[in-house]
Amino acid sequence: MSILECGVIAPEFSLPSNLDRNVTLSEFRGKNVILAFYPADWSPICRDEFTLFAEVLPMFERHEAQLIGISVDGIWSHKAVVEQRKYPFPLLSDFEPKGEVSKLYNVYRYHEGTSERALFVIDKKGIIRWSYLGHMGVNPGADGIIEALESIQEGAENCAPKAV
């Protein structure tokens, strides 16, 4: 099954986070949302995807976008990595049932039991407007996200909503 694509309604979820509360997708309705699925906390620091995204956060915020990270790590790993690396956005734990939300987005690696490295940009109405399946060991950068957010801002209506 391929990664969910532009035009699909983003599946709703509610997951525990490092913020000591569950985070629900629909709580961000009215804002753009960037979902960053990733295999595991603690990748090497200078090339780390989230270290980069932390630098780019002002650009995301200018486009009224909320960044959320999701992996199958437990919340204690999330809390530790956020404390050390100071990521200024929530990390959600797709731990129990394992990978359930990753499976909803078709980004679960069944063999390894982790999420893929994948990005989704969801618009203010909850529709996926852009998605990208990356390589496991490679930080995908933020340029695709920025282009997708700019296209939303410019009023592009490229994809008609489709049922999942």
């Binding site: 932390a54 630098e55 780019v56 950068g141």
Partner: protein, 162 residues
């Protein structure tokens, strides 16, 4: 104009950029005038708290035409990055300290660095160090031999096209 332009997006507090520093010096020695090296800022401030101040120190030194000496000193003294340290380096370079101190606080310099970061992101840069050769992202191994061979190959192709 040099046939080779090597751009590095770097962070003065990043260990791997520190490793790259020595490697690039060697490449510069070997290729001489054939290579133009450009350094652009991508400070990863959430994990490198002194990276932005280091970048500001280098840009402030640039205003007194001492960018490269400051760039070099910063990488040669990576373990000591701090505000006091930048002042010491500025003194070592005989910079006008009043001008230097005023410059590092200038919003204009910070905005310039922010623009470089934005430029980096839009070019698909995903961490530090990231290299571009003649405008194309270099995806290979950035240790000395692979990068040097890559650059030499471009030079050979240029020579053959004459």
């Amino acid at each position: 104009m040099a046939p080779l332009v090597l751009v590095e997006y770097g962070d003065y507090q990043c260990d791997q950029c520190g490793d790259a520093y020595g490697m690039i010096k060697k490449i510069q020695d070997d290729l001489g005038e054939q290579l133009k090296f450009v350094f652009r800022n991508l400070p990863m401030t959430t994990v490198h708290p002194d990276a932005l101040s280091a970048a500001l120190a280098a840009e402030a030194a640039a205003l007194q035409c001492k960018f490269w000496p400051m760039h070099d000193l910063l990488f040669e003294n990576q373990k000591e990055l701090s505000d006091n340290h930048f002042e010491k380096l500025a003194n070592r370079l005989n910079l006008d300290m009043n001008l230097f101190d005023a410059a590092v606080k200038k919003t204009k310099l910070k905005k310039r660095i922010e623009k470089e970061v934005e430029g980096a992101i839009r070019s698909g840069v995903n961490g530090t160090p990231t290299f571009f050769v003649n405008g194309s992202r270099y995806q290979g191994d950035w240790s000395f031999a692979p990068l040097f061979n890559y650059l030499e190959n471009i030079l050979s192709e240029e020579r053959m096209s004459y």
